[in-house]
């Protein structure tokens, strides 16, 4: 096994995510990625429209630097450390192909059916990306956090609100995949 080039198994990735959280805690910060979206709104002048965006965003600059790092990390990993394919469970790959015509499982990192730049002209694809992103941004702020803030930071601190939020994440995800996908992609 080539540790640098092959995909990392869960028992490598999970502990490293915990390590990321502890490193941030040890420098007095908190691990959470969705608060950056609010910071970006504030920088863009959203404080004119809602007090929710009137806060000292300069104190959050450190977290935007983490975002810049994540972009660079994605670049490094995709260019130098990966063949950019994801081999999921063959049964799930087969089902994606049969039910939804998504044929690229095992050959790509993201399905080009949804993420290839040339498909952006397709209103259906565009609607999925816009709606998905909107719900992630709206829901994360409504719930006070996302997967990193609640599922990792919050649950590590044994917070009941985070448990409720994570249960919500999974209710939403399961409803989308099992009830709405058959309607959306039919």
């Amino acid at each position: 096994m080539n540790l640098l080039y092959d995909p990392w198994p869960w028992y490598v990735a999970g502990p490293l995510i915990a390590l990321t959280m502890f490193v941030l805690l040890s420098v007095g910060k908190q691990f959470g990625m969705s608060s950056n979206l609010r910071t970006m709104c504030s920088i863009g002048g959203a404080g004119k429209y809602s007090d929710f965006f009137k806060f000292d965003w300069r104190a959050q600059r450190w977290n935007l630097v983490v975002v810049v790092g994540a972009v660079i990390g994605g670049f490094i990993a995709s260019q130098l450390m990966s063949d950019n394919t994801v081999k999921i469970n063959p049964e799930i790959a087969q089902q994606l192909s049969t039910d939804y015509g998504i044929e690229s499982a095992g050959e790509a990192y993201l399905p080009p059916e949804l993420f290839a730049t040339e498909n952006l002209s397709d209103p259906f694809v565009l609607a999925i990306l816009i709606l998905g992103g909107f719900m992630v941004g709206f829901g994360a702020r409504y719930a006070g956090g996302c997967t990193s803030g609640h599922a990792i930071s919050g649950l590590s601190n044994l917070q009941l609100p985070s448990l409720i939020a994570v249960i919500g994440f999974f209710i939403g995800g399961l409803v989308m995949i099992h009830l709405l996908f058959p309607l959306i992609f039919s």
Binding site: A70, A77, L96, F138, L160, G168
Partner: protein, 137 residues
């Protein structure tokens, strides 16, 4: 110097997200289909270590570098906002196949369509801030 350490943490996190495939739409789909242990293993093992570490920090009152308290503030109590907000987030997470961390990682990996998802997520955050006083919390 401080910012260089945040940048390094971000790069480290970005590489983990990409290499573990947690940033892949396929893995998110597979997770919600219960097709593999992979994503549950990532979240679960991060959590087990996270819970143990946080309990140790609390028990021995370990301070952050510089002597400040660790940033472990519990969230406000409540149910509605966490459940309803969480469900909306989950719907989007499964549809776009990306949550806020991996979005930035994918932008760096050159998937430019993800910029639409990021822009919409910023818009969603803005709309929440705009109407939050009318929503149940």
């Amino acid at each position: 110097m401080k910012y260089l350490s945040y940048l390094t943490i971000g790069i480290f996190f970005g590489i983990i997200m990409y290499k573990s495939e947690a940033a892949s739409w396929f893995r998110i789909y597979e997770m919600f289909q219960f097709g593999s242990f992979h994503m549950y293993g990532i979240i679960g093992s991060a959590l087990v270590i996270g819970v143990i570490g946080v309990q140790i920090i609390k028990k021995y009152k370990i301070k952050a570098i510089g002597g400040n308290e660790m940033n472990l503030h519990p969230k406000q109590k409540g149910i509605t906002r966490y459940l309803v907000g969480g469900i909306i987030f989950g719907l989007g997470w499964a549809l776009a196949g990306a949550c806020p961390g991996p979005m930035y990682v994918l932008a760096g990996a050159g998937y430019f369509s993800i910029l639409i998802v990021i822009a919409s997520a910023i818009l969603g955050t803005f709309v929440y801030g705009f109407i939050k006083d009318k929503l149940p919390h």
